[in-house]
Symmetry: C2
Subunit: 387 residues, 2 copies
Amino acid sequence: MRDVAVIGAGQTKVGEHWGTSLRHLALEAIQAAMADAGVTNGDALYVGNMLSGELEGQEHLGALVADFTGLRGIEAFKIEAACGSGAAAIRMGYIAVAGGLADIVIVVGVEKMTDTLGPDTTAALAMAADADHEAAHGASFVTINALLMRRYMHEYGYDHQDFAPFAVNAHGNAVNNAYAMFRFPVSPGSFERARMISDPINLLDSSPICDGAAAVVLAPADWVGGRPVAPVRIAASAVGTDTVAVHDRRDPLVLEGARLSTRRAYDQAGLGPRDIDLFELHDAFSIMAALSLEAAGFANKGAGLGVALDGEIGLEGRVPVATMGGLKARGHPVGATGVYQVVEIVQQLRGLAGKNQVPDARLGMAQNIGGSGATVITHVLERMVDW
Amino acid sequence: MRDVAVIGAGQTKVGEHWGTSLRHLALEAIQAAMADAGVTNGDALYVGNMLSGELEGQEHLGALVADFTGLRGIEAFKIEAACGSGAAAIRMGYIAVAGGLADIVIVVGVEKMTDTLGPDTTAALAMAADADHEAAHGASFVTINALLMRRYMHEYGYDHQDFAPFAVNAHGNAVNNAYAMFRFPVSPGSFERARMISDPINLLDSSPICDGAAAVVLAPADWVGGRPVAPVRIAASAVGTDTVAVHDRRDPLVLEGARLSTRRAYDQAGLGPRDIDLFELHDAFSIMAALSLEAAGFANKGAGLGVALDGEIGLEGRVPVATMGGLKARGHPVGATGVYQVVEIVQQLRGLAGKNQVPDARLGMAQNIGGSGATVITHVLERMVDW
């Protein structure tokens, strides 16, 4: 097995792109990543996307994006794992390069959720849940997360207000990220006054419906020895799965898929949570951020919220999260999110995160979650040089 | 790179499965393949599927099928490349095993196209075409293929009746395949009298809308040395892509993606078309069968139909095609088809094809096409032992 490096990264601004099509978003991110990597071609293109069929009436994104970006002819597929599709596509690229079946793989995550053909985006997102046993009964993603949040508050004695630090931290970091959707701060007070969505989840517990694309270029690590930009290697790439329906789980407040995925990643890299300098977690809802901190070993069961309340998730904290705004404030174009997370960690490890730079960041972990924890993909990235 | 073998294969009957859900179809095929392989677990599950979101309101098939088949916890994604999704999933499994990142990979192709939530299946299938530049103007898959067929007849001077041998051959072979949808023969006369669908394509030029699942288990070839069933190795696995929109191609009657894909496969295996004992081609429409024979090197441009007219596509012909019924008569549950093709070649190479056995079959080629030739995945399978 070969060591794999991220040799290029690119992204579009996240937002409501009414005048830009899905393929144009993908093009912008891929061109930026390929220019960054200094490559003009590749051996394969893997596209992470969840909803192009439902929302744009377009499947077959692999060949479509390959052709539109000037890569016609190369191997190209779409990889789908609900909101985990972006990191799933990176995982596939990692496998191809690590195993020696490809030298240069381009991975793009792209999603366009606003300007759609007609179906309701919330209903489309519910396709990440169990269609027969959850969605058929009217459950949507926000209602499922609301049940988890209510249960968490009940079990561990928290108030809704206790979740405020996640939104405050994410929005504070997004202010300095030119690619983020919501570049304004929020206060604990505005968090508590925000409009209710699905009790107890309010607007500031929730990531937005939006459009965006992010891309990375992967290559063998030894390929990049003489490159000018500080390269980053993938120290671990791992997946864990769980039941899709939350009611099938032994304990709904334990993300067993995330525990599996993280443990496999730690084992691969020979690391533990103490070694991680920043953690781009999947804060689609604030309850998911709390549960992820626990599943990834940064807190005991029921203590994930305490990490945020103790001020440990900030840029200089014990475990910085959402350093560029996270799903909450950078935005969550679902199939693109997993690639955004990796692009942002690459920025951090290259020392190019500006005002949001985590001091001396050497190891960053990205965790992308599909559904309510059914598919969890974890990547640990490591800085290869000093800067 | 390691040699990869197909150590197990399974399938459901293709048909209209009104009483069986998508996940149950996948379960049946996976259980059969795992029992055949003698394995009870795996390192990863890749699911080939095109339309579960649009037709069943269910994305996230990787984790869903993993859990439902008793594989909860393992790495699991859905791979999509329109009607080429099944072989695309096999390609991903091949990459993982060949590169040493997984030892046992389970691949299932599954599609349920009949009992749907509401959307028209023909409209959903058009999502394999270019949504902005083909489908938006009313093109469906059958109308695009009708244009190609009309052009072929015009360019090379054929009549519609000349396409009859493809349907006659496929239906004749399906009679003996217990898993086929249409187990009845058709005559050249009934071919010409069949109901018109989209001039010049009639009902017997077309593969059916149907449900089904097929699965294979992949492992390193040296793993299977002492196994009782004649093992089969993957001698080549290759992909080629082309424009999604047919009007963007230099010559609409040349499947450039198929030429690329086949040439890459031949190069990998060190073979040419003369070495292939049977060719499971993508006869979604009879015109696709003719164009595939040309792109894969079995005939010159414009002469693909001649191969069929000369009686060379039968079980004892120069290039046997659709040996178990093909897409036309076994059926074409789109995301499952690429896996059915490989399962059938495994039957042939094991000498278990019954009345449809190709004499002394040693090398079989499967070619799965997404869209009108935009994604083409080719696998060459080789018998590893004498029997």
